[in-house]
Symmetry: C2
Subunit: 497 residues, 2 copies
Amino acid sequence: MTAYAALSAHFSRLSALSNAIGTLHWDHAAVMPKGAAEKRGESLALLNVLRHDMLTDARVGDWLDAADADNGLGAWERANLREIRRVYTVETAIPADLVAASTRATSACEMAWRDARAASDFKGLLPRLQEVLELQREIGRAKGEKLGLSPYDALLNDYEPGGRSAAIDALFDDLADFLPGFTEEAMAAQARRPALPALEGPFPVETQKALGLKMMAALGFDFDRGRLDVSTHPFCGGSDDDVRITTRYDEADFTSSLMGVLHETGHALYEQGRPRAFMGQPVGEARGMSVHESQSLLIEMQACRSREFLAYAAPVMREAFGGAGPAWEADSMWRRYTRVAPGFIRVDADEVTYPAHVILRYRLEKALIADAMPLAELPAAWAEGMQALLGITPPDDRRGCLQDVHWPSGGWGYFPTYTLGAMTAAQLFDAAVRADADIPAGIARGDFQPLLGWLRANVHGKGSRLSTDELLTEATGRPLDAAVFKTHLARRYLDKA
Amino acid sequence: MTAYAALSAHFSRLSALSNAIGTLHWDHAAVMPKGAAEKRGESLALLNVLRHDMLTDARVGDWLDAADADNGLGAWERANLREIRRVYTVETAIPADLVAASTRATSACEMAWRDARAASDFKGLLPRLQEVLELQREIGRAKGEKLGLSPYDALLNDYEPGGRSAAIDALFDDLADFLPGFTEEAMAAQARRPALPALEGPFPVETQKALGLKMMAALGFDFDRGRLDVSTHPFCGGSDDDVRITTRYDEADFTSSLMGVLHETGHALYEQGRPRAFMGQPVGEARGMSVHESQSLLIEMQACRSREFLAYAAPVMREAFGGAGPAWEADSMWRRYTRVAPGFIRVDADEVTYPAHVILRYRLEKALIADAMPLAELPAAWAEGMQALLGITPPDDRRGCLQDVHWPSGGWGYFPTYTLGAMTAAQLFDAAVRADADIPAGIARGDFQPLLGWLRANVHGKGSRLSTDELLTEATGRPLDAAVFKTHLARRYLDKA
């Protein structure tokens, strides 16, 4: 057996373990009774240790060195070696006691955060969050030393391989200049329109579910290799051949759950479209979190909040719920799904104001990891940033710096991928529509095959063969910039062509 | 750390792995989309290898020897050592290549069996089944050498620790003499009664599910540590703090699904009642398959097909489905749930004829493992046995020796535990009722707390501290015999006091 074949077999075994972990995570969120939490924690901790042991197996380094010298490998295999080396480097960078300390600290902090958020008690959370921050900084330093990166860029690199804060700074500074004025303009345009008639419920859960399944099928979701279920926090998870998305239902309002299903379907289509020949290998994985978020936002924001989609979907919704009247017209649905309203909560934000939430968090976490700001000053810095970016100040920390689980749970360096994803989605969708005029026409008739075909060929099927920059350049002609995203916003919210 | 503490920590880790495996098995049967089958097989195979590696870790033998010499251990800890040694001895008895060969052969045979059963094609299955049989014989020989047992007893011992075919022969020969005549008498008594009015459906799945959940709650099922779901083949599975039972619904007939739920709830109550202080340790596991089956049959056959239970349950059923008329009366329900009708299919058999199915399979598998009969003669021997025990001859192998998955899937030595369980259930329930007259009275008012209390104290809470014989002797005053079971049958089916 060649070194490459040994490496590939090792990572196939590893993927069998990762698939088990993914299924157990889904189970935890979707169906597990609460009394099983402690034992499930023990199972997941054990499987993660076994996974770490396999990833850092000393033979991996030897196989990598031997395989690098193998001249018989093709482009995919070379890319696989690059991805394996990336994962191996990061996984071996952190001493076991630091991993264990971080796991303990984030677990305790996430538990404490639930209460602290409910009580809006930042001071109470501060000592635990400080511990998490210091351990993240230490992890960033350890990885950064191996990778030649700053601690923050090293953390970012786990979610966004190749992502660098210098490039993000430029993109986000541009957006931060543009958005406050644009939001005012969009709000003014919105205010000039007549009042939006309300949808009258209730909307039974079973009907909502049936409608969601129908839309998933239209989008091309493969139900032989996936499911739709319910969980408190919607997500896309599961395993290689079993992609499971979740939603939550509100019988007073179906619109948010339905759009959530479409969003998660975007993630799921990416997962289901990864290259089968490299399933189980690192090169067969999704490229990174910004490309992943681009796929959910391309479906949700670019395709499904468009006039084309809502012209098709409004009658389907009306028929499903037996609705009648102007509230169910396509124009009303479009206005409902494109309303702009600055608010305190990121997950409730609209397309226009969402980047402000992300830019705020990105700037703050970068400063905190760089030790350029004391953690105790976070609430004040948050309030100041919200005022500058969105013109509002949260009345308490519950609706401010305590709202997200990311920092308590150790997810530092993740936030920027949301807005990078939104910009990437705009740039990809624009290229897709330029390449095939039947894409918007198809969406208007509920036919997503033209769009899905383009995504399969240009994004999903590439796995991690290319870097994010290369992928975007091959698909759109250039690396990411803010131009198409801004044009998209102007066209949608200011009626500019 | 003492050797015992090290051993205990090792088996706690092992239980975290077993819990993961249990949850993935549930997922496979209850919710997994079909396209995930191959990857799931890979995940389970890997986890089972990891489990085997942990079980046969060389340190386990050393720890066992050192802990045996530790005088500071209590009765539970001593029993835990005995159970660990039992598992370790069996797991280390089989060479890895024999395990792998058997896994491959049973997997292929089980797949082939699905088609062979549908086509009633025993000859087509014969080569693969022969391979499975020979490997089972080899496994039985390897284990038997270590345990000082015959190959069949060594296989039996995996499901029924301490079980020996000499003792089972005596019990089953007694029953085999008794049952044919008794079945005729019971059928004659049944024929003298007036016609049983039919229940008119349909019975909506949602109503059936709600009724099942209500009955589970009445029986004492803990929904914080368990669930009810749907699968093709009902089972009780899951993990230590998360006991999941399944059923399947038929809108034309709710009675069989409901009784199935009660049966699985009996298994689940055992699992949920195991000693918490030894959860994760071998001594905290259920005692064996005959005791496990006794718990499902005690609930189903002894408690829930009784006149007392049906006096309580018939009005609850009638109200749930909005039924009316004599078909819904308690006496009709009791007659429906105690109908005797010899048939070809084991899983459809009633309480009186079920043992005949089991005795037939037990005698045949014992002869096959002992190489006392060629496998090619199985269909003829089956037909002969059915005629002798039940007075009927199956028209084809689909309704004969191909009906069960046990042999193709490598479950040799399992069958006798069904009828040992039925006899154990009768003996335990009789002792429970003698000990507390409020047990039948409670059942008549839908209150299972008195019964559950007795089971917790005398069976569930004992885990594997005692042998099956000891457990039964402590709970009922003597080891298992057929007397109480026969008395129970006579009382129920011949109206003899």
